[in-house]
Subunit: 223 residues, 2 copies
């Protein structure tokens, strides 16, 4: 909920609260200093005391999201199982803010929970057999893939505007169903799955499985 603040002093954490609410609802582009200022009964310029510029404000949103990351305790399970659990936890955090997952990428090696996640991922990857440098590159790309998974979640998008969502789905369906089944037999027969996966949990399970299986795969083929 976006509620109007009426306290005397401007609290940057409360500004971030508002910004997060707006961004969740209408996307990061809808966040503006002017809107936030009005919400907090202050001049737009007052915000520049606490945020260097808009990029800095969005970075604060990324940090806020990453604050929810928890790193599971090491267990006796195989390294790849533990990595799977670690990445699943990361994705769960991102899923709370589908339109904002991107904001976390530039903050992962800055915000503390991002660092803890990264360090643990590198531990598990080296335990699996990667060199430190290879672990770094593989880990980096895995994080990017998982962020993309959430960002392009075809179900979550525009939850706040269900009619726009329905309209968008109908448009896509119409476009695909107008294709020639002779020329595109597989696309037309898989139209449903291409537009929108059957289950959201299945979508995420598959996405995470693909990432972890890819990691195991490149490890095997390098030996």
């Amino acid at each position: 909920m976006i509620t109007k603040e009426t306290s005397r002093r401007l609290d940057p954490e409360k500004v971030i609260d508002s910004a997060l609410a707006i961004a969740d609802d209408e996307g990061p582009a809808a966040v503006s200093f002017r809107k936030l200022a009005a919400l907090h009964d202050v001049t737009p310029m007052a915000l520049y005391r606490h945020f260097k510029d808009k990029e800095d404000l969005l970075a604060a949103l990324g940090d806020r999201i990453l604050a929810d990351v928890v790193v599971p305790e090491p267990s006796d399970k195989r390294w790849d199982k533990q990595l799977h659990a670690l990445l699943t936890g990361f994705v769960t955090v991102l899923r709370a803010h589908p339109r904002l997952a991107d904001l976390t990428l530039p903050r992962i090696l800055v915000a503390e929970p991002g660092l803890a996640l990264s360090e643990r991922a590198l531990e598990l990857l080296t335990e699996g057999g990667f060199t430190t440098d290879d672990a770094a590159e593989v880990g980096r790309q895995s994080i990017c893939s998982l962020i993309a998974l959430v960002t392009t979640d075809p179900i979550a998008l525009e939850v706040s505007d269900p009619e726009a969502r329905e309209a968008s789905l109908r448009r896509k369906r119409a476009a695909l169903s107008s294709l020639s089944p002779q020329r595109y037999p597989l696309i037309t027969s898989a139209a449903g799955a291409l537009i929108c996966p059957s289950s959201r949990d299945r979508y995420y399970d598959l996405g995470i499985d693909l990432v972890v299986a890819g990691i195991r795969g490149v490890l095997d083929q390098e030996r």
Copy 2:
């Protein structure tokens, strides 16, 4: 290059040329109807004859990029080798416009070369053993991962502004080197690889390998 147009009639294809040049140089956000209008000696509103709104203009950029996609002829090689080649071709096209790779996602099932690519990918995935629906979901996520690979290419970003790039790298390096090696031993020792991979070709080879290995992996574990 962004050059000024002086023809009588407004040619939408030439507007797209300019828009692509601006977007490549300064990012999609820097593309504006007003700038394009000035470039073509026309009122901003004149562009609305040819583009419904800004989203429509960016969609045209996505289509323009996808126009370069070529689908390799079927060969006798294994399905996964052929898929690897198909996806490598796709990534090569995207790499020509690192900041714009995102624009292609909503156009893949609309623009003809995107459809041809998708149909061929589904053929190869079903040949590998996926059901049509699973092939659709796996293909979808692979495309998303590869787009993310290009979008987050740590080397390509801000090529137009090399000093900003250097400054950004220096800032990241400073941030990582200020971390405690006791608390983050792997991050600090892998700092170089985390900030910027050694080789660009290696970066892309690894990214594509991860995707294809992931596909093979989930296929095996489902049997």
